[in-house]
């Protein structure tokens, strides 16, 4: 797996309702696909991490993924 680089983007990966129980194994699969894991939020079924933009497509092929969205900036 490529080392983290400055061009990496941060992503929010929502896990399908039906697959939430396997969130940890899905997180491992996402890592194998190139994700640098930040958080496994089992309470809400979301995985966060960073990845090289050109590897994003591989994440979509991991089973149990409902959506992959870019993590954005939030303000007061």
């Amino acid at each position: 797996m490529p080392a983290p680089s400055v061009s990496d983007i941060e992503v929010i990966i929502t896990i399908q309702d039906a697959d939430r129980a396997h969130i940890h194994s899905i997180a491992s699969e996402l890592e194998t696909a190139g994700l640098h894991l930040e958080g496994v939020l089992s309470g809400v079924g979301v995985v966060t991490g960073t990845i090289q933009p050109d590897l994003l497509a591989k994440l979509h092929s991991v089973e149990g993924v409902l959506a992959i969205e870019k993590s954005g900036l939030i303000q007061i």
Partner: protein
């Protein structure tokens, strides 16, 4: 033009008697005693089976009890009904009320031509506009609602009735996700605050901005601050502080989602989020997280946004995460209960983008980091913790959680004349 009876209801001569929930047996006994209706004359819906009550078969001088509804319909003399009403008027009886049975009519479209109606409508509109013009000439301040800070209480607590509620949020956990809290503020000393930072490289929730302290103050500030007016709603709630915004006031989705997860794991019934991004599109992650939070018994309340400039005709839009269906989105009101200048309107009109409810959000007095201690600021950020704190009061009062709590808070809002796209169901009200 068909005439319409105004005010008076058409009645049948029978009366509807309502029994206190769970006290139908006692109520029926009282009813028989007070009206003289004997057992043989009082039928029951259970006598009729699944086909339901055939009213033609109910005794002329008796009535029928609807077992599933805890209600009876009785044919008694008006004088009898009046004396029954008087007997139960003091309260305490198993009979809650006796009311005349009314007649209802189908609401049908008029057979009058639409052209005629259009003319009628134009005439009515002209009369209405003239009436409004006449009214505005004599300024009728008395009819308008108007709130002000007093030496003892901030106006927002007056307008929402939070200041006079007997509930305090006792036993309820409220998580405020923001710039943190001034942990040295005297108004929070002795309060059990659980804090967690979600900003990389920042170990504590110490608030170096102010916004978080102000919001936490409105949501959960003390009954008796160190000095000055009361400004906090859920003064006995357990406060969780998630620092998801830096001291410069910004954060990332990843940190915010982690904080929501943390708040839910720590048993928060309410999460207050006075933050957002001016993005019109909704997010799958926030939608899913909001739903999962509700399912777990956590209500998330978020600021609708301050991107409107109504004085120049810009109405803005509800940004993320408030524009998720599953996040309760809060608009801001000024002290005459009018929509605040900056308060975002739902201009996108898609599922989720609605403003759900409104709260006091202009010139809101609350706590601030030392040395200032207190400050007055405005925003949908200020309206949000009013709703969050009041949701905690409702949670305490009713035991409602998640979606049921959402329903409870919304259905008890006070209707306003401003449109739904600005204020949602209306001004949040405390139990």
């Amino acid at each position: 033009m068909p005439s319409v009876k105004s005010g008076e209801m058409d009645t049948t001569g029978s009366f509807i008697v309502t029994f206190r929930t769970g006290a139908a047996e006692e109520g029926i006994a009282s009813l028989k005693k007070m009206t003289g209706i004997t057992k043989s004359k009082l039928m029951s819906s259970s006598d009729f089976g699944v086909l339901g009550v055939n009213l033609a078969q109910t005794p002329e001088t008796g009535g029928v009890i609807f077992q599933n509804l805890g209600i009876a319909v009785v044919n008694i003399e008006t004088m009898s009904a009046i004396s029954l009403a008087q007997e139960i008027s003091g309260g305490g009886s198993a009979i809650l009320a006796i009311e005349p049975e009314g007649i209802m009519h189908a609401i049908s479209n008029s057979s009058i031509s639409s052209e005629y109606l259009r003319g009628f409508k134009d005439a009515a509109t002209a009369l209405y506009e003239q009436a409004i013009l006449d009214e505005s000439k004599s300024i009728n301040i008395g009819a308008l609602e108007f709130y002000q800070d007093t030496p003892t209480v901030a106006w927002g607590l007056l307008a929402t009735k939070a200041g006079s509620s007997r509930y305090s949020g006792l036993g309820i956990k409220v998580a405020v996700l923001d710039t943190g809290l001034d942990l040295l503020h005297p108004d929070f000393s002795g309060r059990n605050v659980i804090g967690q930072s979600f900003i990389t490289g920042v170990p504590t929730v110490q608030d170096g901005h102010g916004h978080g302290t102000h919001c936490a103050g409105t949501a959960c500030g003390p009954m008796s601050p160190i000095r000055g007016a009361r400004y906090g709603v859920a003064h006995e709630a357990e406060l969780l502080v998630g620092k998801v915004l830096s001291d410069q006031g910004s954060g990332r989705d990843s940190g915010i989602l982690a904080a929501i997860d943390w708040a839910i794991s720590n048993g928060s019934e309410i999460i207050s989020m006075s933050l957002g991004a001016d993005i019109t599109s909704t997010s799958t992650a926030y939608e899913a997280v909001g739903q999962r939070a509700l399912d777990a018994g956590t209500l998330i309340v978020a600021a609708a946004g301050n991107n409107a400039r109504r004085q120049v005709g810009e109405f803005g839009f509800v940004g993320r995460p408030a524009n998720s269906r599953t996040f309760m989105s809060v608009g801001a009101l000024a002290n005459r209960l009018q929509t605040a200048n900056f308060s975002a309107r739902d201009t996108v009109l898609a599922p989720g983008t609605a403003v759900d409810i409104a709260g006091p959000g202009v010139d809101i007095y609350s706590s601030w980091p030392l040395p200032d201690q207190f400050n007055v600021i405005s925003g949908t950020s200020m309206a949000t913790p009013h709703v969050a704190g009041i949701a905690a009061l409702w949670a305490e009062a009713t035991g409602d959680r998640g979606a049921a709590l959402w329903q409870r808070v919304i259905s008890n809002a006070k209707s306003l004349s401003d449109p739904v796209i600005d204020v949602g169901r209306g001004l949040v009200q405390a139990p």
